[in-house]
Chain length 156, copies 6
């Protein structure tokens, strides 16, 4: 059976921290679906279609990686796409507590999905989408926080 | 003197984690007031009157438990209802830091009220009102997170 | 039925932080047993009999408080002395994680004992027996960290 | 070269915790700029001009302290005012994780600015602007949380 | 290329928490080596050979799982046995901080080994080898914390 | 008045994380005393005289930095050497809680000494003396964790 992992997030935007997690996970799985959670009531900073395009550009050479937009419960979406694993990156202890709550709730609701955590590189620990957006609001330089293959400002 | 404890929260909705804390506390006190904090500017997910009805249904066999709605400072409300104790459940270390700040501020403002913490059962640790609401927005099944005696969807 | 709480610890030595937790708990219980855990293989800094004498002196006016030495599992000792509650003070988030593990293990082993947590006063947060011992090794002044009614150096 | 520190925040309002951090830092620096971050899309509770007046009143006897309003990236503002240091207070472990992320991002963007952390007094640990605002919404007494030299209600 | 994961620990003793992590990981890897770190200067509670026998008994039906004793740096041992992954379970935020330091140091020293974290089941969170040993010192019942297929006391 | 900072620790051994903290602090102070706490009952891994020599070699070009060995309470030693500041590096949230307790106890005992915290570089976060010693016990390569100007094995 194919091993399929879902990497869910809002990816508003997708940072080099996210990219590094996906790259580390590629050898472990047959397919990785980067799943952009979309909520019609919260628009976000980047249009959701542009987030998808940006991530597709970053992974255009990587056949195992797909990018999708979803707007249902994550565990429901896993069932639909037949993902047995949820992939998450961990940066800090606060992250961990939040991720643990989500992962344990997912188990309550559909025990067959297992969450796999990979550790963010120590030099990527401070990078978060929130801080990248904050810098972009002031037109600052975010090129160190986003894949070299794209220019974040092109996707606004 | 009667020992009266206030169990304050927004309870939007009241989960089996909350229920378990109240049940553990019943032998310690003569009266437990479940006090739903209400803020006219933040409507919440469940109407506040329905939250009250749902909790009353859950504890209808328990004469020591009362349910009230309040919209003043918690320490002020304690004075009004003569509660000497505030009861709180603890799930995670992040919870703890938040609860400590609140409890220490309450001491600054009215030193006679003491906060008593009980620990959430380990299997209830991941359950939070936030996650329950999230699941309900997608019409998911929340029956494992809410008292068996009520159907959360009836109170929306 | 009498409400009996066990306040277990090594109390090497008993600080004003410990004292404040016991004083806050007195109105909630009919009896509080301060139980000094003793392990023949770890001698400790203060002789265990002196720790007991020091705590008895501190609470000599308080008929609800008893002081005992025990060397069995805490939950077993609770059964023997018919304590339905374990009382613990919380200072920091690290404390909390440790206390949660202990309390949840106790539940696994004897579900009738419930752990009640009280919060250390914010000005007592930094005080720990470890730091008091460290200061005493250098003959420093610890009078601000120990009950005014005793002189810690008399119990060494 | 003059040692200039920036103390950035929203200071909505400036509490005795903030005041104590600035006072401790005065001997270390030649100039401390208390910089009120202002975001036109988030109005805040106190008008930003009044926050500035309140802080100026508190430090009117202290020639090393200046108060400014800014609305750019903090590291950009440091360059403009020639601050080599950012000053921050730490209260809790959650604070710490947040501050670490901000400080490490600042390093990424302009490595010459160093963040200096001072510790909040243990009795000030529970005080936060959020809780002060919460009390003021209910017309509560906040005089213990704000400098004795001002009346917070005068600046609303 | 075979995917080989090392699950290192002192396993003194191996608990149902450890067992659950290994079982969840089996579908992800071709081989899992449970590697008991052994340090001649710290004897431990269970003889190291008995720890090995106990774990082998637990996994005797599972051909993908091997059990080994090692006494070198974990990253060196990974090279020797050609493990590309280190597997670790996470229980609490304190665990996480410790595991992150270890994993990041391993990266410094041999960047090809990646650490994969799985989450302990919420009901196993409080179980640790330390607490199991503590109970066994008092001859307590540990059958709820150890695989049903073995009796921990037989391996002392 | 000269601004003197004490940087206390066991420095067993002094890592590039420690070195980076001292270098960042040099512009802030007139003198920095790296003070190696020595306890006759705990020998440590490196002989204390060799730790001193190693640190002196690292800072031999830096006239503001002195290295001393002390074996009294840190606050007492501050008085003796007229240090008004204690300098500490922060790596993780667990570090922070420990450092806060120490710093607040120091305030209790001698309020004039203020603790200044600097943040470890994100790439140095996982480096600790404990892990360096662990690697050295296995004769591993620690050159990435120790100043380029010294060879740690020469100081054993």
């Amino acid at each position: 059976m194919n091993k399929i992992a879902l990497f869910p997030g809002s990816f508003d935007p997708f940072t080099i921290g996210h990219e590094s997690i996906v790259k580390k996970a590629i050898p472990l799985f047959d397919e990785i679906i980067i799943a952009i959670g979309y909520n019609t009531s919260k628009k976000g900073f980047f249009p959701v279609e542009n987030r998808k395009k940006m991530i597709e550009t970053i992974f255009k050479e990587e056949p195992k990686v797909k990018v999708e937009i979803y707007s249902e419960l994550t565990v429901e979406y896993c069932k639909k796409v037949k993902a047995q694993y949820i992939l998450r990156g961990l940066r800090t202890a606060t992250d961990f507590e939040y991720e643990r709550a989500i992962a344990q709730m997912n188990r309550f609701m559909k025990s067959e999905v297992e969450t796999i955590f990979l550790l963010t590189e120590s030099e990527h620990t401070p990078i978060s989408s929130t801080i990248v957006r904050e810098i972009m609001k002031f037109k600052g330089d975010v090129s160190n926080f986003i894949s070299k293959s794209v220019n974040a400002y092109d996707y606004l």
